[in-house]
Homo-oligomer: 107 residues x 2
């Protein structure tokens, strides 16, 4: 998948404001990626707020530390399904998930 670059760039220090810009992504692909970003941010927030390490959290949702890291990094290899399941497992409500999807930068 082409969009694998995003992560790299992001790591390299680029503030992600609108993602698209550099990479030649279609509008739909962009929307999809941003939507995943909203969820992964939300996931990290919830995990950190509950004082868990990635490893603890992984066990709690029946996964592994490395996959949790990838979830939070919104790695191309993680599906929306996994992100949403992860959020639900933390007790996030569908409403909160909907909000995370609808608009980013929400507290």
């Amino acid at each position: 998948m082409e969009a694998a670059k995003r992560k790299k760039l992001q790591r390299a220090g680029w503030k992600i404001g609108s993602t698209q810009d550099f990479l030649g992504l279609s509008d739909e692909e962009t929307a999809f990626v941003e939507l995943k970003l909203g969820l992964s941010e939300r996931l990290r927030i919830r995990r950190v707020n509950s004082g868990l390490s990635q490893d603890d959290f992984a066990k709690r949702i029946g996964s592994s530390q490395s996959r949790v890291a990838k979830m939070e990094a919104s790695d191309p290899s993680v599906s929306l399904d996994l992100l949403v399941r992860g959020l639900l497992a933390t007790g996030a409500t569908p409403k909160e998930i909907g909000t995370a999807i609808a608009r980013r930068h929400v507290a």
Copy 2:
């Protein structure tokens, strides 16, 4: 996946109000299934409103009629990813998607 039954029961004429009841689903599994239902309903609405057959729509999003039918039926074999991509392809905004997830029974 266990939850494959849902569809069958639903077909058999059971009004799905809260899904859970019969099948022994955990709260999280239930929430996940309902969340998918919200999206699949939304998808069918958007397709019908734009006057497309499943077949037309399938071509437009690079899939097949049978898969579209499964998407709208919220078949266990379809992922959230596919539903969301499908919605985005119809021009649905992240906001609309978020709303479809947050609360069902929305017009």
